[in-house]
Amino acid sequence: MNVSIIGLGQTEVKEMWDTSIRHLAWYAIEAALDDAHISKVDALYVGNMLSGELSQQNHLGALVADFAGMRGVEAVTVEAADASGGMALRQAILAVKSGLVETALAVGVEKMTDQTGSAVTAAMAYGLDADYEAMQGLTLAGMGALLMRRYMFEHGLDVADFAGFSVNAHANGAANPLAMFRNRLKPERFASAPLVADPVNLFDMAPAADGAAAVIVTSREKAMDMVPQPVEIAGSAVATDTIALHDRRDVLWLQAAATSVQKALAQAGVTTEEIDLFELHDSFTVLAALSLEAAGFAGRGEGWMLARDGEIGRNGRIPISTFGGLKARGNPMGATGMYQIVEVARQLRGQAGECQVEGAKVGMAQNLGTNGATAVTHILRVAE
């Protein structure tokens, strides 16, 4: 793609009552600029889903550029529900690839805790079909539950069969100092957690929280001169599906996820066997299973078996959620996709600390909007 990552930044993921959305974005941007040893970029893409609803603040491009000391720079908000973060990186890559922008910064930021309770639950459902899903009282958790119930029905599973995904996420989150949840989860406790939307429970659904993460990209040639360890963008692809689950030809097949993976693999010239780790969108365990199937790591109805068989751990066949994933690192909706990119890049730099997947050379990140109505897939590679 001739585009490389030269800077990474991220904040902790948690409830930060004393931190505003502009500060959150700035902390991630400041860290990324420091990491790249630069003070300015040529364009700024802000991935965000909910600032208008929860903080009465739109126009984040100008706000964040202003607050980050980049007044005058081209800046805009990118929104694709909880795929906003990955989509912001996509826009930064397109800008650099076009040649019109030399260095671009993508930051994902979400401030969930300016409101609480039912207002947040309603806002999180804004990525669904408002007229035909949310008006029926469907929530994001409800959407996950409809998928999970049907998956259990078709494949003869119980709730406990999904435990391996959350156990793995928490085990990895325990080793990530920035993660929201750093406690290990006992498999036997998984199925008995309080219900959010039956059969989805608190140990199944990723927790919403505040957070921001940022990535700086530039051309490969320029990156080589700027930083010792540039990470190449080897593949970048986006696909969409019907916004409502009820309009899918096949509810249990994430077509947009599959299409974007196929495109990204083709761009990178690699096969799934060459992917050393996969940061997938585990907002619900069933989405982790369906994402593994759509990407080709498991056959249809068999994604859950990878969790059961320990194949998704740090030393397994396909490590996922290596810093805790959405489930344990936490899910700041519009920032989540950017955390995934930062995490994959840290793995490839060998800077993942206790979370390190040994010898990782090629990593994939996939950010989904709600039920996979948007799928953004990126493949990163250690620069040769």
């Binding site: 039912s118 207002a119 639950t121 309603a122 459902a125 079909d129 007229d131 035909y132 899903e133 949310a134 008006m135 029926q136 009282g137 469907l138 929530t139 958790a141 409800g142 539950a145 409809l146 998928l147 119930r149 049907r150 029905f153 309080p194 219900l195 959010v196 939307a197 039956d198 059969p199 989805v200 019907t242 409502a244 689950l245 009820h246 309009d247 899918r248 509810v251």
Partner: protein, 136 residues
Amino acid sequence: MEVSRHWRLQAQRYQLVGETCDSCGVKLFPPRDVCLECEAPAQELYTFTGLGEIYSYTTIYDAPAGFEHNAPYMVALIKLEEGPLVTAQLTDMDPSEAQIGMPVEMVTRKLRTDGEEGMIVYGYKFRPAVKELTAV
């Protein structure tokens, strides 16, 4: 405040008015003007029978604003007898009764309220079927 938004959907909310595609004959709900299957124009109105079966379902405990007083409540994917799935609440039944494949029929009920003096939105929900499925 959002009156027009709900008013313009009354044919869908009260009567399940969707569309038939002239090209491939598929029936569509919600209506969408461009056929989901063949991408031809689909603008011929069709009123669904309101009969179908449960395809998947959930009981929602963590309710969004406007639905708090209903919680817990059930939402399902209903497979209508004409083919399409529709997202709708289940009513007149206990969560323990629900199962995939259960025959249900459409009824009109209160969907949500915006506070004591706010607007009340009515629309379709589904309850255990009293009528037999008709042959389509």
